[in-house]
Symmetry: C2
Subunit: 263 residues, 2 copies
């Protein structure tokens, strides 16, 4: 049995037209599937509207208490519920979850290891034991499609902000327990990992681990792409059958326009 794990992020979330067509493509995937969404830029808009100062360090969000409330509202509320409502309108029986729901994603607060480490605030990291895969399986058996937002919990009543790409990788890896074949698709508004960020056609059709190490070292890929690729290789290294990065369009038309990752 096969399952598709699809992560949508970037501008696909911000732009309603992009989002709708991404969800339509997702609906057309036959068989078992799980959706994971990000939504960072919407959280910025809500923060601005609420007059909450956004803090970033080395391109990563610092989640203080007020920002945590904003991301919980935006990810688990606004984005997640609008996606679920839209999927329902396409006859896809979606059900939205944050990590606390059914204890499906348990994390622990990211700790500073040394004094000079950055304190990211209310950020939750996952482990191999984080995913309650039996809940996902129960949903599959009952033809319910899980839609996960990047909010996790620690089991002690606290919610945390967690990277959506990392969640997608852990979900895909955990599903290996029940499914022979797990495909992980990172969808965003570009055709794949670009050689030249200013040329949308310049995507790598294939990246193996050696090439990744090379382009990471010589900084020929954008900073934001590095953790995504690290999550991709983490998934491949842990038994996920196929990992790809690209437009949601290829989910239904399996054209070559995407980047395939391989070990």
């Amino acid at each position: 049995m096969k399952i598709h794990v699809v992560k949508i992020g970037g501008n696909l979330i911000n732009d309603q037209k992009f989002l709708d067509s991404s969800l339509e493509a997702f609906c057309q995937i036959k068989g078992n599937k799980v959706l994971i969404h990000g939504g960072g830029r919407k959280a910025n808009i809500v923060s601005d509207q609420m007059g909450i100062t956004k803090k970033f360090l080395q391109g990563r969000r610092i989640t203080d208490k007020k920002t945590l409330d904003v991301v919980v509202m935006t990810y688990a509320g606004l984005i997640n519920k609008n996606i679920v409502a839209k999927l329902q309108s396409y006859n896809c029986n979606a059900l939205g979850l944050c990590g606390a729901d059914g204890n499906c994603m348990k994390s622990y607060l990211r700790l500073k290891k040394t004094k000079t480490d950055i304190d990211y605030g209310y950020v939750g990291d996952l482990t191999n034991q984080s995913i309650n895969i039996s809940l996902i399986k129960l949903m599959m058996e009952n033809h319910i499609v899980p839609v996960l937002c990047p909010i996790t919990h620690n089991g002690k009543g606290d919610l945390f902000n967690t990277n959506a790409d990392t969640i997608a990788a852990y979900i895909a890896i955990s599903l290996k327990k029940y499914y022979e074949e797990v495909e992980l698709h990172f969808c965003f508004e570009k055709k794949g990992v670009l050689r030249n960020i200013h040329d949308s056609g310049s995507y790598y059709p294939k990246i193996d681990f050696r090439l990744f190490q090379k382009i990471k070292k010589n900084h020929s890929i954008s900073n934001g792409m590095v953790p995504k690729l690290e999550n991709a290789f983490f998934a491949l290294n842990n038994g996920v059958s196929k990992v790809s990065i690209g437009l949601p369009y290829y989910l239904i038309n399996d054209v070559n326009n995407k980047t395939i990752l391989c070990l």
Copy 2:
């Protein structure tokens, strides 16, 4: 088989201490249970922070598009997920739902019947067919406790604001299909329906329909209490075994401090 449907609202949601003790009381209910929460005042705070003008007519919120986003964020995100995380920390396997999740509460947009009717905006009304009770049953069978927020959907991709007391009544009525005994408890920060709003001890121990009609007519109960009592009698008239109004405390200590409704 018996099931408890508990609705928490009013100041129980605004005050963290009240909320925590309400959730503790809820956890101590043995057997099958469903939680429904409101949260109107938190939505007001978020609206204010976002600089969105609140509109009320005859004490009822007008849900324009911006306000809809606020209530979705606040009810389905902030309040729902914090409640679920807290319940999980009490070893209660809670899972939060809005109406779009698993298509569990389908509503239709409240229409103006005459030109002079108030347009409440994005407000969804329920019918006898609204509740997808099979999802609730699936959760019960798997020891998952549903936590419902007052956001519904129309199946066409739209989310609506719906009264939490009304949702509680419809859920209780729908559960009659699977459970011999359904108890519905409206919990708030008072001991029951007060004779004198300034005297917290002046609650009615029992209200039958005749008394309700009388006190409604002579305006001896507050305006906000009338729709709650109407929902209570609607539930009783449709087979719900027991309906009560009062503090969450009595959920675990079945003292007389509450108002019991009867036909």
